[in-house]
Symmetry: C2
Subunit: 463 residues, 2 copies
Amino acid sequence: MKKTLFALAAFSLPVAASAQLGVDDSSDQRVAAAADAALEQDVLAWDFVEGITTEVGPRQAGTEAEARGRAWAMRWLKARGFANVADEPYQMQTWVPGDVHKAEVVGPFPQPLVVQPLGGSASTGPDGITGEVVFFRTVDDLRAAPEGSLKGKIAYISHAMTPTQDGSHYGFAGPARWVGAGIAAQKGALATVIKSVGTDLHRNPHTGGTGFPAGVQPTPAGALSVPDALNLERMFARAGDRPIILKLILTPRNLGTTTSGNVVGEIVGRDPSLPPVLVACHIDSWWNGTGAIDDGVGCGIVAAAALNVSKAGQPLRTIRVLMAGAEETGLWGSKAYSAAHIGEPIAVGLESDFGADRIWKFESNFRESNAALHNRIARSVVRFGVSNGMAVATGGADINIARDQDTAIIDLQQDGTRYFDLHHTPDDTLDKIDPVQLRQNVAVWTQVVGILANEPGEIRPKP
Amino acid sequence: MKKTLFALAAFSLPVAASAQLGVDDSSDQRVAAAADAALEQDVLAWDFVEGITTEVGPRQAGTEAEARGRAWAMRWLKARGFANVADEPYQMQTWVPGDVHKAEVVGPFPQPLVVQPLGGSASTGPDGITGEVVFFRTVDDLRAAPEGSLKGKIAYISHAMTPTQDGSHYGFAGPARWVGAGIAAQKGALATVIKSVGTDLHRNPHTGGTGFPAGVQPTPAGALSVPDALNLERMFARAGDRPIILKLILTPRNLGTTTSGNVVGEIVGRDPSLPPVLVACHIDSWWNGTGAIDDGVGCGIVAAAALNVSKAGQPLRTIRVLMAGAEETGLWGSKAYSAAHIGEPIAVGLESDFGADRIWKFESNFRESNAALHNRIARSVVRFGVSNGMAVATGGADINIARDQDTAIIDLQQDGTRYFDLHHTPDDTLDKIDPVQLRQNVAVWTQVVGILANEPGEIRPKP
């Protein structure tokens, strides 16, 4: 259905599309043609994500593998004509997952369970820890447990995440991962395991960062794959009064301060004195996948769009690509970029960091303050099946600078229905990317960035 | 669509179904009613497979875990009224996978790959082995490689397996696993890795047995998950003249001779002098999953059907359930059962060992020799969406005795479209079983076994 729609749009509109947009500026016509062409034939975004996942693979934040990812991306950007390609360094605290990740039910139903550490987890040591598992259906149930009641025990947190197009169940189910281990540690828990915050049924745990409140000693914290979590829950139903005893081995380490970096590159505009359009993604990934949908493909989309716009004629404004480092373990790169560049105004910020499925909604934070431009952009992407959203865009993790500068932000909302099948898992691999939907992303981005980069006026006029 | 069909069949036919079968024997009517009831409400098969996967988990052939599986199954059978429940021991050669399964591309594109050993693989030792990877598209390409040409190298075998309803691509793609490592070893290879013989795109390798010809020293042999194999193949496309160097650590061990066993139990018939109906499955599983679809659920189906038939009135013939041991590593249990019982004729053998998706075709090996019975059975399962197949049933791995005795065999062919997404992987877990399709299996089995167990005449008359 989606593919049919795209194909219809592409076959009926490509040449005449720009004329139908109601604008007569020649750059707009060229941009629209470039977007139409991208829908049919873009290979740049695929080339980026295929290349970085094949030639580099996983890019854990702060590590040598992330540095190889930066070097690879810089070579790619330079080879395709980006100017001012650089690796802007910053310091960060680096956590690595270690080698051994095991969970085993010791009794009453002995069997292994598949587990991986959460980012920020402490180590159990190589010999592991063993304790009774205490079941909590939700984080609120855990919060209600008496202080000290978890001493010597392992907290398990369940919840129910289901697929949603807008990804909003991540906000609903995510706290089990984000704060669960910290709350359990405050109540004396030896360790915490959670049902993966994910929507699939594969033996591939969803990792991701977890936080411990100031003054609370981090404990080991891991995610069971959803099938293993369901198995553990069935054990509770069948064990009666018998305690469920779990042995857990997780051996992550903190490496202390290491140097990471942000990769930047530019399509230089005709008037470099105008604030640039910032298009962002992140270059790092969790260790367990290859960082295809999170977020190699986002970097491919924004870079391909910038190139497509440049091929339609040098844009008025500079388009700056930011491939932020170390997003996954605390937005280190995004924060460092904002700190380093806070004094250099950007015109507008956009990021791609939600996979490669189709864009279905356009949102900005200048719907009212610059209705003409908002509506012009909204009209321009209707032919790609993108609706005009009512919400105020707030941007994502990689464009802290746009929020810090209180500037214009656009969100090109992607279909997240299957994103949390793959997010932060070993299954984040190239084969999950649908080339047809990826091209729709590049087409929409080419269209939107093309309009923004050729816009002479202020994009979000200050009130 | 399938669910709708089943529901229609169930709602329109349950009470009157037996009358429509064109038979007037009262046992036939009761059996048909029991089958109809199973379609709507059977919980026995689910209870078996939920129980054994939750309370026992993986049951690697010849190990203590398999023995726990036998003990669990015997308790279940006794608790539900089976007679003559026993664990019939035999000796076998036992292989175990060991703890460490790692593959890592050393160069030119360093990154880890997900691998698991094939059954029968030798160990690399804890320090692993490192060698250049030589690409073979097919087993035939490998066969054509000159003798000695793989000395010091690691053979990689690709192929293309796609989903098929009848599972026939297993025969097409399977040799890469069954004989690839042996052929490579004969040509001097240090080790072999294959693309998993599977149809999914998850980072869960498909293990399974591999064989080495007599006189050929076994080498390490592993399966990459399909996404990892595709990544390796992209590396070949991008590496140019640079060799791809792989480090492989697999630490399986041979334990020598251990004792395993076959679990048997009976619904005793009114005339125990008649040869029994043998319904079979296997109790062991590979270590990496929990043996849900392969083959905990098969044991649940055959046991549930036997119980359902018995509840419809004591059958004429005894129904014997065989839960064979150690199928996966060489049909040890099936062969031992045949050797021990070859002198005790069975009337007919059937097995369930292809997952839990719906049965779509009925086949026998007495279509011509006992057309009346064949056609009566075929007519009886039309209402469950099962067609009358033309092929001659040959039975499966767990009923060697039926072939050895040259007796009657029935194959109730299941839909294998998604079976090889899960087969021999960590993803073989309870959540993959569709309870609606499982009940259709139990209904068809109840119907067919009910007819067979009440059949006074010889089922496959000898010519």
